[in-house]
């Protein structure tokens, strides 16, 4: 049995060299350090955000001098005092929190059946269709989608045209609170579905059959069986939608017409309309604090749900 004498492949030589280098560089006890070294670049990259936060903190403690338009040299808490006492900021914060809550509930209401149908259907084409209908808007970006709704809901848009057919006067559908909420819901829908789908996949179909065979109609089995089992998905989806809506900028700006400012818009205004960076930074830090508090509370009480990375089990 004679094998042809094949030359040692080049790729093997390179691999041997790589192994040799690795063995020389890697300390023999270094095996335990491996994961930390692998995590280091990511930790550094996210560290940029931490540096950013420190910068915001520093800026937030300075006040704007309106005769020279320069930031003050010393630190002061004046910005924070103004932020918590000003009626306008309170109004904006309340509007954003309420809006985020409403958007979360409505989004989950639509995302759940969407994810359910997508996961449970046996029709591969339907599943693909639903996935594409989900991903296409997700990949298109906020600005373009808001722009599309401006066209549809404008005074001369399709909706008002159709209402005109029935004899209704054109209604102002845009530049109000419901328009912004609607824009947010349709923007958050893909996020909600993506967070719910893995959790729903984990629920075996037989469980629903079992519930039915035990006498539950579909509504009861939904409330008592599926919903509790989908909890990690609901938490992940709810959290993502809530924080994203609370801090959204484009939808309130484009669909709100300047009268429906959310917190992000107020912060932007401080930086770019009144040039008071200190105030804007203080508001930004307060927003980060509120957001982190929300997330932290949910995480500790419920766990990270489908938002978890790594080895946490569902």
């Amino acid at each position: 049995m004679g094998k042809a004498n094949r030359p040692y492949p080049l790729s093997w030589r390179i691999m041997d060299a790589a192994e040799a280098v690795f063995a020389a560089v890697w300390p023999s006890r270094g095996g335990r350090m491996a994961p930390y070294i692998m995590l280091a670049p990511a930790l550094l990259l996210v560290g940029l955000l931490v540096i950013g936060m420190i910068q915001i903190g520093d800026t937030s403690l300075r006040v704007l001098d309106r005769t020279t338009f320069l930031m003050s040299e010393d630190w002061t808490l004046a910005n924070y005092q103004k932020a918590v006492s000003d009626a306008f900021f309170f109004k904006v914060a309340w509007r954003s929190l309420l809006g985020a809550a409403i958007v979360t509930v409505v989004t989950l209401m639509f995302a759940f059946p969407y994810a359910y149908v997508m996961v449970r259907t046996n029709n591969a084409a339907l599943r693909k269709f639903l996935l594409i209908a989900l991903f296409l808007p997700f990949f298109i970006g906020q600005v373009v989608r808001a722009y599309g709704w401006l066209i549809i809901l404008g005074n001369q848009g399709i909706v008002n045209d159709m209402l005109g057919l029935v004899g209704v006067e054109p209604i102002r559908l845009l530049f109000n609170y419901p328009a912004v909420l609607f824009g947010l819901v349709q923007y958050m829908l893909p996020f909600g579905v993506l967070m719910l789908a893995p959790a729903l996949t984990a629920i075996p179909e037989e469980i629903e059959a079992a519930a039915t065979s035990l006498g539950a109609n579909w509504w009861r089995s939904f409330i008592h069986v599926i919903l509790p089992m989908a909890k990690p998905g609901l938490i992940g989806a709810g959290l993502v939608v809530m924080t994203l809506s609370l801090t959204d900028f484009a939808m309130p700006a484009i669909l709100g017409g300047g009268t429906q400012d959310f917190i992000a818009n107020a912060i932007y205004d401080q930086f770019f309309r009144t040039s008071d960076q200190g105030m804007g930074a203080a508001l930004a830090l307060l927003l980060v604090a509120i957001g982190s508090l929300l997330v932290g509370v949910v995480f500790t009480v419920f766990g990270a749900g489908t938002l978890a990375m790594g080895r946490s089990k569902l």
Partner: protein, 266 residues
């Protein structure tokens, strides 16, 4: 399992509304771009490709698009190795402070986008690197890193540690094991992640708004600035460019990995 009538009706109603809400802006923008009139309207009056001709002639738009592509490339190139290594580390190993590290790596999600954007604007400003394009790519990578890590960990969950022992058993050194066993197993996650990062960076709006200026404006910011000016159909034509890239990305994603990957439980 045969579903009861009422359940199907309710489900399908809700799903139909959702699909309409999701797709309507896309279709409208697509349609309005073909109008032969001079104002934005849907349904379009007449059919004409003149607005596409206009945007191809526009140097500004072309340059803005090229800059967006560059930002997306920088973002993907940076986040791919960083996110992959982090994802593998989180899935395979038992790490001390695991909970804290997870929360730390979720910072780009927990810190609101406006906060991250302004923080990076101030930090980059202090470092004096605002006014160039590559910091925008880095910013996009930082903001969206959790997506990359999430994608990699999702596919790394299927990585069986025994496979690596088997490879070592057959004589493979650690480097070879990594490249022949570990990496291929997370490749679906890497592909999904990179496509996600690329498209997200291409569309990145708020952070770009804060970090770019007239010399380095990217396409989403250019569109936003133009929307706040007179709205003409060439904006719709430009938006179709985004729709086309999105469609392309989805097709590639589906061919290489299959969209079903997002349905899998972790």
């Amino acid at each position: 399992m045969i579903q009861p009538r009422s359940k199907s009706v309710v489900l399908w109603c809700l799903v139909a509304i959702a699909v309409v809400a999701l797709s309507a802006p896309t279709i409208v923008v697509l349609g309005a771009s073909f109008t032969s009139g001079n104002i934005i309207a849907f349904p379009p009056e007449g059919f004409s490709l003149k607005w596409y001709a206009k945007i191809f002639e526009s140097d500004e738009l072309r340059q803005a698009f090229v800059r967006s592509l560059w930002v997306a490339t920088v973002c993907t190139v940076v986040s791919l190795p960083v996110g992959t290594l982090a994802g593998i580390a989180l899935s395979k190993f038992q790490i001390r402070f695991e909970r804290s590290i997870q929360i730390y790596l979720l910072l780009p999600f927990t810190i609101p986008l406006i906060g991250s954007g302004i923080g990076l604007m101030l930090a980059f400003g202090k470092a004096g690197i605002i006014g160039q394009l590559w910091p925008v790519g880095i910013a996009a990578a930082v903001i969206n890193l959790p997506f990359m890590i999430w994608a990699v960990t999702a596919s790394a969950a299927s990585l069986d540690p025994d496979l690596e022992f088997a490879a070592a058993n057959c004589g493979a050194g650690p480097v070879q094991t990594f490249f022949s066993v570990t990496l291929p197993a997370v490749t679906p996650g890497m592909i999904t992640g990179s496509l996600l990062m690329f498209i997200l960076a291409l569309n990145e709006f708020l952070v770009s708004l804060l970090l770019v200026d007239a010399r380095i404006v990217t396409l989403p910011v250019q569109i936003y600035n133009s929307i706040r000016s007179i709205i003409t159909p060439d904006l719709a034509a430009v938006s179709v460019v985004f729709i086309a890239s999105a469609a392309l990305a989805i097709t590639v994603l589906d061919r290489l990995v299959g969209l079903d990957i997002f349905l899998k439980s972790k």
